[in-house]
Symmetry: C2
Subunit: 491 residues, 2 copies
């Protein structure tokens, strides 16, 4: 370590890229657009996954696994779906390599061409609904409430670690229902579960809303989303849930006998969050010294660092440090005692600040003379001497306090950065200079939405749920409008 | 349900295929050779994965994630490695689809051809060692003890659910060490962890051994394995660990400065088990009535079924059943109370026997008059009336007993089916008629191994660890031999 990060003020984008790499979360791989998620980053993802998985199971869902490959003809069945994904598909065309008969090296065997090309799943609606067709005959077979943890591939041209990568990890829920109402309720339930997770475990406040038609998922009737605000004033879509209507049921001819004994198409939802969430939490909380990780999902919640000059001091320090470590573990707190002697304590301080460990306990021989250790919180960088006998309880309380504190800080930042505007000049000025969400009237047309995007790069992030209805005039066209929507530049 | 399974005696292979589908574990997908792992099967896999993951972490390993794609040139770097996998590679050649300009439908855009083809990982040694090159400079960076849970693809021509599928789920450990000895110890440690898991959680006894050179992993210096015996007398390789020597370090030029400050190539291991283990446990324990699942990993450990004639009886039955359910859950036992009234109890009995639920508790209104319920064990199909007050403790004890019992039964079967032979006539006779493992002397040559395989379809499954040394003559060539090895026909 030792090297400084580029500061956020200097170059936010470079700060982010350096931070992901220097903190050991992930790095770019030799394969274009694909990342290597390093152990520290993967442990963070495991913690997030385990909590989400529990939330999904507690709300009645079960996991399953569907194929990585989607026959080209399946992806093409739902017209707007294939249009949405066609431009970024990894396509498998052959199934064998062989020695080059004309020379050196290995070539793709031309005799192994597939009759039908296979697409690496960019999302699994089509392969799953082709399967549900065999599972669903009667209303008794419904609902189906399935989730899948998987890798997916979208061949993005511009990639950034976690935020946009060709391959990423995610979960995708795919549910089947006997009524429109039930499916809509499911899509709404899941967007609230996502909001619960992102706010209460990641400490990132979100706006829950629906997308404008132009921003909907390819194949959805309605898309719900949670939108978060990053420190540079750009928005980030953190998760989406989709009410798919009967679109995929019709594309794959999935009908069921309802209670009145008549055939009806099945109603569907899908919903997903991905490793992109890691990008969101980094950009919401971290600072120029490194990551600031949310305590509830941090791979290491507490790090203990010893300070000593000789073996005699080390023996005393070890005794206290091991006892604190044991007591923290007994409280189910993830703790690391870093007693490596090849690194100085100053180096370790920087290292764990860069890695965003929420709480640091420094056990120093001198402080121990007063039966004290130093308790440090990563978010505010404050430190205090505390009594050895109370440090464990104080560290545990501090974790809770840091969660609240980073959430409140991010919430205050967001509240300061939702700006109501009523004129086009104001709109452009706020988007250009202040950033954040702009709350403005919109006439509801795709034309206006597109024109605003072209002129300012701002898009409609969402129409908030329970949005207050108020008469107004579209900030761009001047036409009548019944509600404000949130615009922002976004990741 | 209701339909009978083909019996094992009639057609073992058909019994297996029907069983996987009828029990709801998995089914074939629309994509050639790829399976859909249904919720019941996936929960079984989750239970296995969670236990293995804990064992890996307890032995010092951490998880990470590497790309799905491997550039063709990377796969080709290690000569025997690419030779081993070239014939079964899914190859990505393009990254975009488009509307067919000459007519209907969607086609692969020829302008999106990749400069270098990407292989879907059949295993990740090459992509991982290309990454380790950047992570390893000094002995201080070693060991690296990383595991990855992932999907992999091997384009097999003949596939069978769980046993051999084009895509499968697995874990792959990839470790890097500073000495040959340390790497060998790691490969041996992991094969023992696999044996521990398969025997003590899946209830399947295994022989631990090493592969003959011809059966080694492509790129390994030595391959360790665990071999299990299925009920039809065929062997199944349940897991392998590989000492890779310096082969991949040399292929990717991964050197480190050792403690003497000289550059040295890094020593490597890799090791993996897959969803194939599910095939192993099905074929080791199940019977003509359905699955017999090992209690420690069964998705449902105890099912409770009510029997009643009227609402008054149902109220009494419910009261007892809910209280048993609650008490079992409090003991961390996975329990399902199936009180659906659209299915008869006889149908439910068959259903859960097919699904292999280890313990069934039937709460019947008549038995309740004597404060009794019926306790049924799936493995032996025995049932007993037990007191309501003791049923929870008895069910818990029964789960433990069933584990021991199915393990001992499988062990006894295997012991009866390891046959020592000393002549070629005996060898052929046992392989053809009795099946199982044949323990025979082998001259150590690949030629003899190949000849035996051609004549009998039997392969060397392994040379057991700590194999007794004894002078003998090769059962095929008559040449001198120092130890017996285990032959069998295998999955």
């Amino acid at each position: 370590m030792g090297e400084q990060l580029t500061s956020r003020a200097e170059n936010y984008s470079q700060w982010y890229n350096e931070l992901v790499i220097k903190s050991g979360l992930a790095e770019n791989s030799a394969v274009r657009g694909c990342m290597v998620i390093k152990p520290y980053g993967y442990t963070l993802w495991e913690n997030m996954r385990d909590i989400l998985d529990r939330m999904f199971k507690d709300s009645g869902h079960v996991n399953a696994y569907f194929p990585l490959f989607i026959p080209k003809s399946y992806l093409s069945r739902e017209a707007s779906h294939v249009e949405g994904f066609a431009k970024e598909c990894a396509v498998v065309t052959h199934y064998r390599l062989k020695q080059n008969p004309d020379g050196e090296g290995i070539i793709v065997d031309p005799d192994s061409k597939l009759e039908e090309e296979l697409i690496i799943r960019p999302t699994s609606e089509t392969i799953i609904w082709s399967t549900y067709k065999n599972w669903i005959q009667s209303y008794r077979d419904l609902p189906i409430l399935i989730n899948q943890w998987a890798n997916v591939v979208r061949w993005e041209m511009r990639t950034r670690l976690f935020l946009r990568t060709a391959e990423f990890l995610w979960q995708e829920g795919h549910t089947a229902h006997q009524s429109e109402q039930e499916a809509i309720e499911e899509a709404e339930r899941m967007v609230h579960i996502y909001a619960d997770f992102v706010e209460n475990y990641m400490g990132v406040p979100v706006v829950i809303g629906v997308k404008s038609p132009a921003e909907r998922f390819a194949g959805a009737v309605n898309t719900y989303c949670i939108e978060a605000l990053m420190q540079d004033g750009k928005a980030l879509q953190a998760g989406t849930t989709h009410f798919l209507g009967q679109n995929f049921a019709k594309a794959f001819d999935v009908q069921f006998l309802n209670k009145n004994n008549t055939l009806e198409y099945v109603w569907a939802t899908s919903w997903g969050v991905s490793t992109r969430l890691i990008g969101a939490l980094i950009m919401a909380h971290s600072d120029d010294k490194g990551l600031v990780l949310p305590p509830k999902i941090a791979p290491i919640q507490v790090v203990i660092i010893p300070i000593y000059r000789n073996d005699e001091q080390l023996a005393k320090v070890n005794q206290v440090a091991f006892s604190i470590e044991k007591a923290l573990k007994a409280r189910n707190i993830s703790v690391k005692y870093d007693n490596r002697d090849e690194y100085r304590s100053g180096w370790k301080f920087n290292e764990y600040e860069m890695k965003g460990v929420p709480v640091r306990i420094t056990v120093g021989a001198r402080d121990l003379e007063n039966n004290q250790v130093e308790l440090f919180r990563r978010d505010t960088l404050e430190k205090n001497l505390v009594d050895c006998n109370t440090v464990v309880a104080e560290a545990e309380a501090l974790l809770e306090d840091i969660h609240k504190s980073i959430f409140n800080k991010a919430l205050a930042f967001r509240e300061q950065n939702i700006t109501k505007v009523d004129s086009w000049e104001e709109f452009v000025d706020v988007i250009e200079n202040k950033g954040g969400f702009v709350s403005a009237h919109w006439d509801g047309t795709a034309e206006t939405e597109e024109a605003i995007k072209e002129k300012t790069k701002a898009t409609i992030r969402c129409i908030p749920l329970n949005n207050p209805q108020e008469e107004g005039k579209c900030v761009y066209s001047g036409k009548a409008s019944k509600e404000r929507v949130l615009f922002a530049r976004a990741y």
